[in-house]
Symmetry: D4
Subunit: 256 residues, 8 copies
């Protein structure tokens, strides 16, 4: 599947250095490690230098520890998302002794991290705007994701559309960013307003903040998908991680 690897292999077969049988076996040695309940793709990490992301919800502390450990021992950084405090603190002591010192739990974004953040790189900064104080769990997930992937992040909190001065007062900061992430619940109007004020791409993150007909974030999600301001793209409800990751891709220098 990797063209260079395939060409090398064929060259070796052609030169008689590798038999066809060995070549097939080699191709079958797939670039991931199978630990039974999970298959870990070390190859992708080696290729991109990015941390491996593990979805923590629905996994036990034991499973999380085993997966994160293998990632770390293969020389990579593991970020486990959506880990509540109790599970995170249970998982760390379950790590192998040489891995445990490299692990930490971060409560706000609910991350278990084993290893180091990527070095700062990227074309510019990523701005993360939260409409209300209640949206900050999600915005922090976005901000930390972008930071761990090697980006400068600027956090801007409590910027609601009902007080437009607050939005206007941060316009220059937003325009200066390479990409802007806007996190909002309730009526989800902030991404449209922000996008109308600046020339940068906006990633909108609906949150489940609200009640009644917010339907757990559906109202905000729909508002963002229907934004009259072109250039807004949207991620799943409460998906701060996905927004931070997408912003990191957009902010990436091509040569990386």
């Amino acid at each position: 599947v990797d063209p260079k690897r395939l060409r090398d292999l064929l060259d070796r077969v052609s030169r008689g250095e590798t038999s066809p049988e060995q070549a097939i076996e080699s191709l079958a040695t797939l670039p991931f490690e199978d630990i039974g309940f999970a298959k870990i793709d070390h190859h992708r990490q080696l290729r991109t230098g990015a941390p491996e992301i593990v979805y923590g919800e629905g996994k036990t502390a034991e499973q999380i520890a085993r997966i994160a450990e293998r990632i770390h021992l293969a020389g990579n950084t593991a970020i486990v998302t959506r880990v509540d405090r109790e599970k995170g603190e249970a998982a760390i002591p379950m790590l192998a002794p040489q891995v445990e010192p490299h692990a930490r739990y971060e409560a706000k974004p609910r991350f278990l991290i084993v290893g180091r953040a990527m070095p700062k790189s990227g074309r510019g900064t990523i701005a993360v705007v939260a409409a209300g104080t209640s949206d900050r769990g999600v915005s922090e997930e976005a901000a930390r994701t972008a930071e761990l992937l090697g980006n400068e992040v600027e956090r801007i909190d409590d910027v609601g559309v009902a007080g437009l001065q607050r939005v206007l007062s941060v316009r220059d900061q937003l325009e200066a960013a390479e990409v802007v992430i806007v996190v909002a619940g309730m009526e989800g109007a902030l991404p449209s307003v922000v996008r109308g004020l600046i020339t940068r791409p906006v990633i909108a993150v609906p949150t489940s903040v609200g009640f009644g007909a917010s339907f757990g974030g559906i109202a905000a999600l729909l508002a963002m998908l229907n934004s009259c301001a072109p250039g807004v793209t949207v991620v799943n409800i409460d998906n701060g991680f996905g927004a931070g990751y997408a912003a990191a891709l957009m902010n990436r220098r091509r040569e990386q």
Copy 2:
């Protein structure tokens, strides 16, 4: 049901001017006229001076003509809503000769009107704001309803949140109104933004303008119901008439 009428009746019974049998019959002479397929409430009109509103959708031209005619002959004004041009133009010649000259069809709000608008009264003006040119059918329905009910109306068009200067440029006009109606489709963010800029009550009207995940106006409706700016109340999708009517009630002087 009308306390004064009941007291008068009882007084007359008490004085022997009316027999109990007559009193019962009189109470049974209900204050509406039954024309078979419809019951027309002339009494309400006489009491309030307001035109009688008829929902035109799903009624034939013939039915519309018969109902409007009876209302007019009882001395009131009839407004038939949601009448498309073809049906409206078919209904007018079906009116009685003495009624027809008082009838006209208005294409933008899709009204068939028989009779005169109420004289201008009310505490102040009603501002009707449309987010986009495509929302104007609904905003015109709201504006004409308010005018026919005796209000001064100020129309403001094409004020989208993606171009905030347009909103800011009309703030003083909006603040000067007694009530502000805001009509918007797509993400429905305008009522929140407007309400944050002024101190007047805002009636939000979601429209079915949009596509895909606007779901025929649901996105805008939900956004408006979840407005983070308190003081926004909402009517049904595309219900310009309902908004105009509610605004008229709010703008009404108590002594009316």
Copy 3:
């Protein structure tokens, strides 16, 4: 953004009392206070005399205390909504010593209040009708909001459509109000019936009272949006606060 303030500033620049640099800085001194996780808009309160409303859900007791404190110290009244008893009672002792005596928790509307209610003013009274005993949490939120914003409130409880005499028996009270708030769950029919009996504007509040196909208040919400009685406007499910606030705006004398 405030035209008067802008004119004063320009006048001072024009008279040489203020340099252009100072003017820009002055405009940049935005009319809100930034306390990190929140931006507090003292200006709006000073201008309107209204209490500042804080959405309490999803905020910690600590955050609530800090925000309410700053509002109070700036000379305003803070109302924090949707605060459950435990959080409310935890937040009060976290207030600064000079602020704490002005704070109180109200269990029925779930409000944490720091400061005084606005003095009574307004054109008339606001009637708050609850369809059932189970709807009273929401109706009390509406009633207290209106009271704290300076309105006379009349509460009417347990008025269901299945016993029409109950509705008819309070008609005169309702007609006497300036605005009527109607709170109902289940099939949400009460606002239509009330609106048909009186000439005042009706704000309908759907509640999540019900089960099965009430879908947490959706049935009542849809019924209210589709009311055949014009002049009914609607707020979000269980949004007693929003209804009380909107009613207060409608009841406000223009000169305020």
Copy 4:
């Protein structure tokens, strides 16, 4: 499957009048006629005397004619529902010559009928109430169904909850009925109000009359399912036929 028939058969087998083979074949002679694209249950009609009902939507004029013809020739009456005028008028000339004179198309309930209505019987009358003139297509479907099934029907039109006098004025008529069918669109509040006024069972029929958030009758359907007045049962949106049929069952004398 029919106990009496089974006992007779077994008696005949027991007396040697029928061989076991014949008995099995006889049971296999199923009590319906198979005409290829349809299986017609003449047996049910013979047993109950009720017309056979055919769902007309999605069937061609040709199919409708063939099915109705077979029903008639077997000595029964056929009612084909949801037949638009064009299809109905096309189907009649396709009937066999001896059947055609017994066929007629009724436009309001959209029925194609071949044969006679059942003779009047039943415990009492069935009242069919329509909230608005636009609901009359559905209410007529209910009324005609009940009539064809041998019931006295009383039609009451244009009785909306926004004009309570209209409801109150017909209370005695409603109370006098054995069963009351209430047909309403928009917010669907009328069945609750009617049920609160009388002691008879109420069958509620939501209609698709309305716009926007009526969602083609969902709002009315939900309101009716959540009625706070016990004793209301509900049928599908626009299902006048189903309501008429259920009412006929409820009105049926046991000995029938």
Copy 5:
């Protein structure tokens, strides 16, 4: 509102036995008792002899005790529905001493009852069929409601469509009933199958039994509303009480 009462009153006014003022006051003495948070309609009970039903969800034990007590003291029976065991057992000791001995809590239908069941009457029996053992909470609510309202009830449990013999084996029992209530969750197919086998009216009760795409009973509700067997009417999800009440109305002798 009660015609006889009105006529008597007018007669007395006419004969000078009552002054008009007294008559008005008498009419104003509404036929319910207002105990602040609730308005109790003793009149309806006196008129119909039926117990007064109170919706228990969302009410405190204290409120329930107060309401039930007043109903009992007025000579009627109170049924409070949807009362969980804890609340029910807390409410009984809060009753007045002379009322408490008449109160009992029934766990299966979750009823708090104060007073006696109505004497058995009605045209015939009411059959209550439950599709599965898990549906029995709802079916018991239906059965007990019907019994308390004075009906003979026959319970039939665990009759699923996947084992048709079970349905066929109880057909004669079902046909013998005056009305049949069918309670089912999951795909909700049982009412259609039952209705196809018998000639009695069927009231279908969808339950929230199921998982995934049963969506808390929506799948069963929709199946029942779309039944291809005419004569099925439907109540809200898990609304055993409503079904039992409606069946009681249908089974009522006219002279009651």
Copy 6:
């Protein structure tokens, strides 16, 4: 991607018969033909002998003709689904002269077919049951798909759950089949009933037959997904083709 092909290639490289460069180019010669707006996978057809299926909706007659032509010229059979009559009859004359004689349009399943059906094979027959006459368009799509893929098909029509004898009378035919496809709209109860009577796997196809709360087939879809009879699997609404194809896979002899 095809292991055998890869091994052959590597063998040839190993023996010097193919250079590494040629091998890479050969792998790059992807097993499909690119005709600009479509990529046609001739390889899959050659491997499996099955016709190539093209989704016809949203494609022009011209596009359909071009794609079908290329498939036929590569020695395979093309089935284009969801082609209405007008488009189908327009596409045939657009085919190349040597292809046109092999093409035909079938109106009931709405197929354009170019080439021959697969020879009959398979373990047994596939039964296709339609609940009503209106469901036959979908059931015919299923039946014809299965036939074209080389299966014996038995069609059984008009078998509704409201007339259980009809279902019982065909039980033996159903049990004799290898797989049973059950097509039903409205309440979608038939697959549960059928599955309860036989021991064969059932594929359920919900149809959009119905009105009101059938919501275009959602009611039937949900009922089928929630079947209490295990062994029922479900396809999309009106997806007769998908059911026929899945049944063909299940009926396939392993050696094929």
Copy 7:
């Protein structure tokens, strides 16, 4: 209902060995045992040799024990699904002493099993693929169901579409199976990808793994129903049991 049994009975009646009365009684002795709150179909088990499946949710430990006990005593195996650990461990000691030793609780599929698995038979193996580690509860329910019904099962875990090598690396294993069950949450894309790679039928099981707009598995369910790869059939969200059962039916040799 069982034709052979009916013929035997009729033969006996014909030979005078059985009276018609006895025959009727014998037919009434239905092939299930009624234990009050449940009717147990021993007959089906005897006929097919398959375990009897009981839906455990909503049943008490006592009810589960009673039902499972009767099944076991009738010589069959009982599988009770959706039993959480606490209930399962409570039920086992409630079994009769001679039954208890045959009972065990399995935590991963949440099964209470009384008796033995069926002996291995079937045409081939059933592969059960889980997209992620979090989906394994559901995939284990599918795998164990298939095993208990007598099938060889191959489990393949953690095969997500975002790492295609993982899917490609197991293609041969999947192709070798008779039927493939694919379990996936989130976007539910795996069944389409798997089906495109192999020629076997695929049963897709959506899971509730995900957050926000996954809506508890609706996103995955819809994706699977709309699969562009024909031959995918779908079961309810999280319905591992249903998928395992359907796969067992498809894998069954005809002579069984």
Copy 8:
């Protein structure tokens, strides 16, 4: 609102070149042109060099012509989206004579364009992938938008997940792009698969291609929002324009 403009203005006021009155008036001369039914923001175009986008749906040919004309006369390019052929061809002759030669209608993306595309710039190319031939209307809207905004675009058609070779064969082309737009209907799985193969950001566009439970694109939309491959952001159903615009922003060089 524009800081530079404000500073210049204040400088002129400070130097006495402009009076405060003139300054206020100048600020009030808002940077858009009001043509009655629309407000046109020439300023934004001048500042960014980008064409002005007009939403064409719900506007008359006359309105479109007037708006496009004004944009062109102000020296900018107008793109009107969602214009069907008939309206587009009607609008062009309505343009002023000097504008008409610059106008053209493009049928595939349904654009009316007046003026020239922006000169090519941007960091790299934008790849636009369509899953099926039926998705090409939407993908062409995306591609043309990106081209008109000055980007190199590479179109790749008919790449479905059911034929993975087609996806794998274009991987290098996709990796070479700066941003990748993936357009897909039905189950919407393609963006996840593509994102798993490359390191570039992916913008997913769900289309309404599909039937039944695709619900007009909802299935694809939900699948994309729930993508397990991080770095996918989503736009509204069928919103090719929005995707093209967002991609253009991401591909923009900072200095622009």
